[in-house]
């Protein structure tokens, strides 16, 4: 659409600008302030990039970052293909399509700490459905229950990771399904008819008709899932509290521990900024790369 040049449009944007700036600029300035100063009994002094250097070389931060990256990539690798696969198998129209959509969207509207609490109960080894079933299976294959439960996410890092990842898949795959489905809906039936006449295989229908049409919404799906999983806090913090040990302490959990738990403002602020910049950089790169690809 060709837009008219009109600088007075600023007045229409102003309320948004004021509200968002109040919420974004002032706190961000506070964070930047803390990140370059040291507090000593209420007196602040400028210390430059010291906190940043500390944070970047801190092993605790590096470990949290590695766990964060491992988590984000794992869930992206599971949720995106799975979401596309389910969207392809969804009914295209009619009553069942809308029943499916309503049921699938349900996990998206549950408060995040309820999701955590729900999985906390669901995966308990003795009284949770999932934990009980897995342990029953392990018992069947010869695990002796006297040695304690085989699957216990409160004790075993591997079980904790499995539970956290399964919870995220449960919680967010529907978003990918909805987006991919929206992309598929925009394909005209004539394409499928033409493909059938040409005798196209199922794979080539997917590769040359469905995938290109889904590309735009899938880009959004990957971007949203990257951002949100990189910021994940509430669900794992309710489910495992970052444990056992530190095995599921992701960046946000670590940050809240440092900022609100230990009141270590300088470190927390420096970490916040590094964290924010990482998300911004990856999102920007991904966004510009895919947009460039689309223009060609």
């Amino acid at each position: 659409m060709n837009k008219t040049l009109n600088h007075r449009a600023w007045w229409m944007v102003l309320p948004v600008l004021i509200l968002v700036a109040m919420n974004a600029v002032i706190p961000l300035m506070t964070v930047v302030n803390f990140s370059v100063q040291e507090e000593f009994y209420g007196e602040f002094s400028f210390i430059g990039m010291q906190w940043f250097a500390d944070t970047l070389t801190n092993e605790r931060f590096q470990n949290a970052l590695i766990r964060q990256l491992a988590f984000t990539f794992t869930i992206l690798l599971i949720e995106i293909p799975l979401g596309v696969f389910i969207a392809l198998k969804m009914p295209r129209s009619g009553r069942w399509a809308s029943v499916c959509l309503v049921l699938m969207a349900l996990p998206l509207l549950i408060p995040w700490n309820v999701v955590g609490a729900m999985w906390n109960i669901y995966a308990l080894p003795d009284i949770g459905f999932m934990g009980y079933m897995i342990n029953a299976g392990a018992g069947f294959f010869g695990h002796d229950p006297a040695n304690g439960p085989w699957f216990d996410y409160t004790q075993e890092p591997v079980a904790a990771w499995f539970t956290v990842i399964l919870m995220d898949v449960w919680h967010w795959t529907s978003l990918v399904v909805l987006l991919a489905y929206a992309g598929l809906q925009s394909i005209d039936n004539a394409y499928y008819q033409a493909a059938r006449i040409d005798g196209a295989s199922r794979w080539s229908v997917f590769r040359y008709i469905q995938l290109p049409k889904m590309k735009h919404t899938l880009t959004i799906a990957v971007l949203l899932r990257f951002m949100d999983s990189f910021m994940i806090y509430t669900e794992p913090s309710v489910l495992t509290g970052g444990g056992p040990g530190n095995s599921t302490t992701f960046l946000s959990i670590d940050l809240v521990k440092i900022a609100l738990g230990q009141q270590d403002l300088g470190n927390a602020a420096a970490m916040s900024i590094i964290y924010f910049l990482m998300i911004l950089l990856v999102s920007w790169l991904f966004y510009t790369l895919t947009m460039q690809g689309e223009k060609k």
Binding site: H7, M12, N23, P27, T30, I86, L103, L108, I110, M118
Partner: protein, 265 residues
């Protein structure tokens, strides 16, 4: 012959199982829950629900959550409407930068903002009010609302605006009488997403409230940790937090997928 339905069915079963388990727990007595594994409640009880609806610390949590979600939804949509119109119709100084900057706020981890928000809102004297939470959630909901609405508005041909001006409509009259009905489904989808993200966000909502404005989900975890292990009560409260979302989804079911596609959420 056609086996397509197997995949969605299996997926929906996978989604429903944890919810069923929560429902199952909520109708059990505490003794039965801790007593062992069972697929159905042996002694069916609604005691947990009765407790939630009669104890003010519980039900006021609900009222608080609904109040701040509503305030946030109204503010976000109201200020995003003119802004989205400006972005979709006009070029102005710094428009693209402004748009991207708005979106970056959707990428800011709430954990980064928790502490500064606490200081900001206590300076403004708004701590522990529903208004504070509603305003704080504007951080990510306004950019989202602008983004979605701009998508819908760009789908409306510009000739409609021009014809209305020639017919003698003033801008406010045109906007309310002609333009808003045209993008009604877009406004609905936007309100839905504002509702969704404000309803599910807990870190900021919990940080900014202490007693009188506490959201339901925070009451839930707090009660669970202070009064021992009352799983039945916890489960019942969890079930009740799912209901508003389910109602909202039911009303917008036909728009969700369309909104995702058009609104570029």
């Amino acid at each position: 012959m056609n086996k397509r339905w197997i995949v969605p069915t299996l997926y929906i079963i996978f989604l429903m199982l944890p919810i069923y388990w929560l429902l199952n727990m909520s109708f059990k007595t505490t003794n039965e829950i801790l007593g062992g594994f069972s697929l159905f409640p042996a002694e069916f009880t609604v005691e947990s629900y009765v407790k939630i609806f009669t104890d003010p610390t519980w039900y006021s949590g609900y009222i608080n959550s609904i109040i701040y979600v509503m305030i946030n939804m109204v503010i976000s949509v109201a200020v995003a409407l003119p802004a989205a119109y400006a972005f979709s119709r006009y070029r102005f100084l710094g428009d693209k930068h402004l748009f991207f900057w708005l979106l970056t706020n959707r990428m800011a981890p709430p954990a980064v903002f928790a502490l500064p928000f606490l200081q900001l809102y206590s300076t403004m004297g708004l701590l522990d009010t529903t208004l504070a939470v509603a305003l704080a959630h504007c951080l990510f909901n306004i950019p989202l609302a602008v983004w979605i609405l701009e998508g819908f508005m760009s789908g409306v041909p510009k000739e409609i605006d021009e014809t209305a001006y020639i017919d003698g409509y003033s801008f406010p009259k045109f906007f309310v009488k002609i333009f808003m009905p045209l993008i009604a489904s877009g406004i609905g989808v936007t309100a839905f997403f504002c509702f969704m993200f404000s309803w599910v966000e807990m870190l900021l909502a919990k940080t900014l409230t202490t007693v009188s404005a506490k959201p339901i989900a925070a009451v839930m975890t707090k009660t669970a940790s202070t009064s021992g292990y009352e799983l039945g009560l916890l489960a019942a409260a969890g079930v009740l937090t799912i209901i508003p979302g389910a109602i909202v989804i039911y009303f917008v079911r036909n728009y969700i997928a369309k909104g995702f596609a058009m609104g570029r959420v």
